[in-house]
């Protein structure tokens, strides 16, 4: 299990410093978001074994970071909870874009597109497109990220913190100042709704 974020109390202090205009605190938080996004993107695209050769994660992460920075400047979240919600939303959108990108009609390895037939034969390891299975899973990922956005707020928050931020239920309960069991129930409720909305087509998490 990932623990990208510091304990809740430390996180509150970081948010307070951001509110006070501390750029270093902002950078610290962004790095944590970036790390988590990287992990999730890799998990989502692991069925695409060659993707690392033709798509730079750094580009993706940088885009997400910029997007979050802009959002922070505009929204300037007042609480830790709202910051985390904002960050989760950016991670979710970025992953959704990635899923759409690779599962959409432009899902062609750009290197392959530029290669001659002879060159392709010399590099048989590079596939022009991904298999149906991989694409199907990516399509399920896309649907998953969209379905998360449709959850009721309390359940969406739990899924966001658990899935997009890698928090434990204990940490989430501490942040929301509720009993652990309440968080666990919201998680089950969210999973039932997601499963129903996805009609059982759940990606390989």
């Amino acid at each position: 299990m990932d623990h990208s974020f510091p304990p809740t109390r430390e996180l509150h202090a970081l948010i307070d410093r951001i509110q006070a205009g501390d750029r270093q605190a902002q950078n610290d938080l962004l790095r944590r978001v970036e790390r988590r996004l990287g992990e999730l993107a890799q998990r989502m695209l692991r069925a695409f074994p060659k993707v690392g050769q033709w798509e730079s994660f750094e580009d993706v992460l940088q885009k997400a970071q910029l997007r979050l920075l802009r959002a922070l400047e505009v929204v300037r979240p007042e609480t830790t909870r709202s910051f985390l919600g904002l960050a989760a939303e950016q991670i979710r959108r970025e992953l959704l874009d990635l899923a759409r990108h690779y599962s959409g009609p432009r899902c062609v390895n750009p290197r392959v597109a530029d290669m001659s037939v002879a060159a392709r034969e010399r590099e048989p390891g590079i596939e022009p497109t991904q298999s149906d299975d991989s694409l199907g899973n990516l399509e399920r990922w896309r649907a998953f990220h969209e379905a998360v956005a449709e959850l009721p707020i309390e359940e969406r928050e739990v899924v966001s913190l658990r899935f997009y931020h890698g928090w434990t239920f204990t940490q989430v309960a501490e942040l929301f100042k509720v009993n652990d069991r309440t968080i666990r129930r919201r998680w089950s409720a969210a999973c039932l709704k997601l499963h129903s909305r996805l009609e059982g087509e759940v990606p390989d998490l």
Partner: protein, 503 residues
């Protein structure tokens, strides 16, 4: 068990049938056998709907569990046939034409109310038209039971609350809860197992469990790794019916010891706690080279602990699983010192009560392989207290394969012959790699222990001398008076089949 109405903990009242009006009161850990057999505590020899041994109650007030003994006409609790179920205040047990009503006097403290038809569960997402009882927090109940070592499976709740079958949210809550709690206890459950156990929810289980795992920030983990003043816990080395065993260092002298934690099934009152500690301390008096030494015990932060000699080696159950049935000389070399130890203890008034292969610790001494007997007397002290909850069967219990018939029938009055029977069953296992009885479930096993003779040793080890089989089976006689008078007498007979090596 008493048969008068006085200050009581658990009461069983016969409310229908030929003996209506009888009342049985239990104020301590005990068993209660019901059937046609004259040996049953509640015997109805003329009721054709009763089996010879119909059902068994294990009581440890205010807890109570009913186990059907493979009866032909079944045992019913609140109109539903049951195999094994924990009872709740007001439950009605029916066998044949007789109906019993169960009441726990201290129900307000521990025994949950009997579920009603309009029972509601905290967190359920469906609207409930009426609510006559307080909503039940199943997750809280589940968590408490698991952390006390009772380990009820989700199916237990489905049986207890049939309404759950229609409430996916509550069932999924329990599934996620059990998955995480098993992780806390050191298991590594696979999501696939849950998909198979609950196929109707397989898809959502895959989704929900995919993000769950061992959470080191989970506050409940603290209870799995106790902090015991004066000791440094190093690693978990085993698990038993009572609790978890750790390798630990005694800070005073750096000596390595085995530290066993005991999780109370219920919060004991100070009198019960003091009695338990006092009785357990008496065990320090047992000093024998083949009895695992008892160093210390106490209570720290709600966890009871026992500090014992650390025996480097393997228990006999694992040894036989790994190497198969043992040759006679090796089995004798391991059992002889154990029987010596039991004879020594019996002569001083101690009874082990839980002799089984898992309690034989096999180690290498200077003179070769030998064994020590673990948990001496602890089973009695533990089971006599209210700390253990219900231990005869169920998820948290060990195997009853080594339990004598009289121990099942008269749980609170066990005498040395019960140890002789258990030691003979242990020797049988060392020689055959198998238990005394083939049984598909605890219900069938209890029934066979009470009514049938074990599978003959010669049918599983025809190479062994027939006389040896006769000697082992004599120690396994279902009537204690038909066994050897003492363990020492049995040991002398066994000595004829090989030199009993001193180690």
């Amino acid at each position: 068990m008493r048969q008068e109405t006085a200050a009581m903990d658990v009461t069983l009242t016969v409310v229908e049938g030929p003996q209506a009006g009888r009342v049985f009161v239990f104020d301590r850990h005990d068993t209660f056998l019901v059937g046609r057999s004259v040996e049953a505590h509640f015997s109805l020899p003329d009721d054709p709907y009763f089996s010879r041994v119909h059902f068994l109650l294990e009581v440890n007030p205010p807890l109570c569990r009913v186990t059907d003994l493979n009866s032909r006409n079944k045992t019913f609790v609140n109109q539903r046939p049951v195999k094994e179920i924990d009872l709740h205040n007001g439950d009605r047990i029916r066998a044949g034409r007789t109906v019993f009503r169960f009441a726990a006097a201290s129900a307000s403290a521990s025994a949950p109310p009997s579920p009603e038809h309009d029972v509601t569960f905290i967190g359920e997402s469906i609207p409930t038209p009426s609510r006559s009882t307080e909503p039940i927090d199943l997750l809280e109940e589940q968590e408490r039971a698991w952390l006390r070592g009772l380990c009820p499976r989700v199916e237990h709740y489905l049986e207890r609350f049939p309404q759950l079958a229609q409430r996916d949210q509550s069932v999924l809550d329990l599934i996620c809860g059990e998955f995480e709690l098993r992780g806390i206890r050191g298991e590594d459950p696979a999501p696939k197992e849950y998909e198979q156990r609950f196929p109707a929810l397989a898809g959502v289980i895959r989704l929900a469990l995919s993000q769950l795992g061992r959470d080191p920030t989970d506050a409940r983990f603290k209870s799995a790794n106790p902090v015991v003043p004066g000791y440094e816990i190093r690693e978990q080395i085993g698990k038993g019916g009572m609790g978890v065993i750790f390798r630990a260092a005694r800070l005073a002298d750096g000596a390595e010891v085995a530290l066993k934690t005991i999780r109370p099934a219920m919060t004991p009152d100070s009198v019960a706690l003091e009695r338990f500690l006092r009785e357990a301390r008496i065990l320090k008096k047992l000093e024998h080279p083949h009895i695992v030494r008892f160093h210390d015990m106490g209570e720290a932060d709600g966890v009871f602990y026992i500090v014992m000699e650390l025996v480097p080696g393997i228990d006999a159950a694992r040894l036989v699983r790994r190497e198969g049935p043992l040759p006679l000389p090796r089995a004798l070399a391991l059992m002889s010192p154990i029987l010596e130890a039991l004879a020594y203890a019996h002569e001083r008034g101690f009874i082990h009560r839980d002799v089984k292969p898992a309690n034989l610790l096999v180690y290498q001494s200077e003179k070769g392989e030998s064994a020590k007997l673990a948990d001496f007397g602890l089973a009695r002290t533990y089971q006599a207290s209210t700390l253990c909850g219900l231990t005869l069967s169920g998820e948290s219990a060990g195997t009853p394969q080594y339990m004598s018939p009289e121990q099942i029938k008269n749980f609170s009055k066990v005498e040395p012959p019960a140890d002789q029977y258990a030691a003979a069953a242990t020797m049988y296992f060392l020689l055959t790699g198998q238990s005394l009885y083939h049984a598909l479930n605890p219900n069938e096993l209890f029934e066979k222990i009470l009514l049938e003779d074990p599978v003959p040793l010669k049918s599983r080890r025809p190479d062994l001398p027939p006389k040896l089989g006769a000697i082992i089976h004599k120690a396994l006689a279902r009537q204690p008076e038909n066994r050897f008078a003492t363990i020492r007498e049995w040991l002398a007979e066994l000595g004829r089949f090989g030199s009993v090596r001193e180690s």
